[in-house]
């Protein structure tokens, strides 16, 4: 075929595609024709972009009920004025980008949120700044949604008048990437979530948990940082979670945990660092988990392993300068296995120089049991008397679990 005969075909093709690919842009600005965002959305056709120019728009209960892109330019702020929800997304494939959402209502009857996604799938929320909302981003019954690079902060002081930064309820295959959450009740909250991927987020200074995670199987979270949250991180009632390369730091308090695992089964906890927490890793009623290649530095208790946890494997972790390495609440140990870890409190020797200590290490000190019984005795930590008692117990375990030991303690840090 000659080129000349192709040209009409191409032209016709282009004409056919044009209405599909062409999307109108509707501009909302303080001094333009359209001054309200809701008005802009109402005028848009599915697939259009609503561009919001710089300025503060006091509006609430904005409904996005068709597939549009809501795009901010400059410092475009939607201020809910503590009246209700700010933005509610009801349409699939909506995109919200580069905009600021402030001041949703706080209340006990409704879960008011800066951005609520209810029953809409494949929504994308990116580069949004949420300030002082009750809930930040609230996803309910959503699939395939992506939250990326959002900055979510709140400054409410009490658990009762503060909501969660990112709240997920009954969602599937959601991706949460590189967000920052601070000052909310729970930084991230997951309930009945399937297959979420959570990476590169930072969650700090939240009133309760950095991440609060329940009934959410097959999720993976990696490279997140959870710092200085009221209760640390809680992961509960879930199977098959992958917790990889996260950083848990500075969670201080009588019930603050770097990470609390309760009824977690068949999960991976690998490559994480636990630094400066009151309790690094707390495990209760958790079974068949693999804890490998983690770094426990300067925690009060590196690992608290309750006796109702069974068949957990602790391999090749580093325990450095923790006040207590492992503590437990019973003399029994049900097949939890410690192997090839590095313990900075190990006092054995390595005569054949193969890098493995010749005598097993018992990470549960007698003193940790005394503290378990009488917490006040914590004041005697690092006393010569306590060291003497510990040494005596190590020779002949009477009160500490006999089988909880690392038979191949490493002489050098393993990571």
């Amino acid at each position: 075929m000659k080129l000349i005969t192709k040209i009409p075909l191409i032209l016709v093709g282009l004409l056919l595609i044009a209405p599909l690919s062409y999307a109108a842009q509707i501009t909302v600005s303080k001094d333009g024709e359209i001054t309200s965002i809701q008005q802009g959305i109402d005028q848009a056709q599915p697939g259009d972009t609503v561009l919001v120019k710089e300025g503060r728009y006091v509006e609430y209960d904005i409904r996005i009920n068709k597939r549009i892109t809501l795009l901010g330019e400059g410092e475009a702020i939607i201020d809910g004025d503590n009246q209700g929800f700010v933005v509610v997304v009801e349409a699939d494939s909506t995109v919200i980008k580069d905009i600021e959402v402030h001041n949703s209502k706080a209340g006990f009857m409704d879960d008011y949120a800066g951005i609520e996604v209810d029953g809409a799938h494949n929504v994308r929320i990116e580069g949004v700044r949420l300030v002082d909302n009750f809930f930040g981003i609230y996803l309910a019954k959503s699939q395939g949604t992506v939250l990326k690079n959002n900055h979510i902060t709140a400054s409410r002081q009490r658990e009762t008048n503060s909501g969660n930064g990112i709240h997920l309820w009954y969602t599937k295959d959601v991706e949460i990437l590189d967000n920052y959450v601070a000052g909310h009740r729970d930084g991230l909250y997951f309930e009945f979530v399937e297959g979420a991927f959570i990476a590169g987020n930072e969650s700090e200074n939240n009133i309760r948990y950095g991440i609060h995670f329940m009934y959410s199987d097959n999720c993976r979270y990696e490279r997140n940082t959870f710092r200085d949250n009221g209760g640390g991180v809680a992961v509960m009632y879930t199977s098959n979670v992958e917790i990889v390369d996260n950083h848990f730091a500075d969670n201080w308090g009588s019930s603050a945990y770097g990470m609390l695992l309760k009824e977690i089964n068949r999960s991976q906890v690998t490559g994480n660092t636990f630094t400066n927490n009151s309790v690094g890793l707390y495990m209760e009623a958790s079974s068949r988990n693999n804890v490998e290649g983690n770094q426990f530095n300067q925690n009060g208790w590196a690992v608290q392993l309750m006796a109702n946890s069974t068949d957990n494997e602790f391999h090749k972790n580093n325990f450095v300068a923790n006040s207590f390495e492992v503590s437990t609440n019973s003399r029994m140990n049900y097949s939890n296995n410690f192997d090839k870890n590095y313990w900075s409190q190990y006092e054995g020797y390595d005569l054949n120089r193969d890098g493995v200590g010749d005598v097993p290490h018992r990470p549960v000190r007698l003193f940790s049991i005394l503290v378990e019984k009488q917490p006040q005795s914590l004041l005697l930590l690092r006393s010569l008397l306590v060291d003497l008692l510990d040494a005596a117990e190590k020779f002949m375990p009477v009160l500490t679990p006999e089988t909880l030991l690392d038979s191949k303690p490493q002489m050098e840090p393993v990571l």
Binding site: W252, G253, S254, A256, N276, N277, S278, V279, N297, Q298, N299, G300, W301, V320, A321, S323, F324, S344, L370, K373, Q374, P375, Q376, S377, L378, L379, L380, L381, R382, S383, L384, L385, V386, L388, P413
Partner: protein
């Protein structure tokens, strides 16, 4: 100024005796070994502070008493000179306590400098350990002087008292606290416990170390009393002022004794 002159003679005497160099070398070796095996991290600092809590009170007290006995002739000779007694006392005390403190400080600091730990580790922790070691040296040398002067004629008794009181303060005292905790654990005993701990200079120093290195564990305790005490500047300031009291009282007592003593 006379005190300074005496102090100078004392230093010369001490250095000639060589043992002070040995004392410094012990710290040098320990610190070097700890840093080598502990990878210059907080673990090394903790080990050094443990050694410090063990060794300084023992050496300070025993040598404080022993030195008075050894330099009896020297003291009596100086007493015959026109020197007032307070100057002589402070000269003698400074002449012993300051070199001891320096031996500790240099012995621990030098390995930290040549291993580069002073840059990599937390400077605040290093300074805390050095200051605490110096304060403990002054404190326990003072206590040693007190025992030495009290039992000036009966050396065995003086040394015995120094040894027994070290054993008491370092081990038995904590045993008593532990017993009290288990006997009265059901009552709100945090405040009396804190008071008891602050009444013992070794415990006091130990708690200051805890405040620096184990604060994450201490904050894990459920009681509000501890949390308020440890979680604020209050803890550090109360501990420091108690330490000052412990430094002041034995020295004041021994100076009084020295002034009144009929040599």
């Amino acid at each position: 100024m006379k005190a300074l002159t005496i102090l100078k003679y004392q230093w010369k005497d001490l250095l000639r005796g060589k043992w002070i160099v040995g004392y410094g070398l012990i710290y040098l070796l320990i610190a070097d070994a700890m840093i080598r095996f502990g990878n210059a991290g907080p673990k090394a600092m903790l080990s050094i502070s443990n050694i410090m809590l063990l060794l300084i009170p023992l050496v300070g007290m025993i040598y404080g008493a022993l030195y008075l006995y050894q330099s009896r002739e020297f003291t009596e000779l100086l007493l015959a000179q026109p020197i007032d007694r307070p100057s002589l006392f402070w000269g003698l005390f400074g002449g012993l306590a300051i070199p001891l403190a320096l031996a500790f400080a240099l012995g621990t600091a030098i390995p930290m400098i040549y291993t580069g730990m002073i840059v990599t580790a937390n400077l605040q922790s290093i300074l805390l350990i050095l200051m605490l070691g110096i304060a403990l040296t002054l404190l326990f040398t003072g206590l040693g002087f007190w025992f030495g002067l009290k039992f000036f004629e009966d050396r065995v008794k003086g040394l015995g008292f120094a040894l027994v009181s070290w054993l008491f303060l370092a081990v038995l005292y904590d045993g008593l606290i532990l017993l009290a905790v288990f006997a009265f654990g059901d009552y709100p005993i945090e405040k009396p416990m804190l008071a008891l701990a602050l009444a013992n200079p070794i415990d006091l120093a130990r708690i200051t170390v805890l405040l620096e290195f184990d604060i994450s564990a201490l904050m894990g305790y459920t009681g509000a009393v501890f949390n308020r005490f440890f979680g604020s500047m209050l803890g550090i300031s109360v501990a420091l002022s108690c330490l000052m009291l412990w430094l002041g009282i034995p020295l004041w007592r021994s100076q009084r004794q020295f002034e009144k003593k009929d040599f």
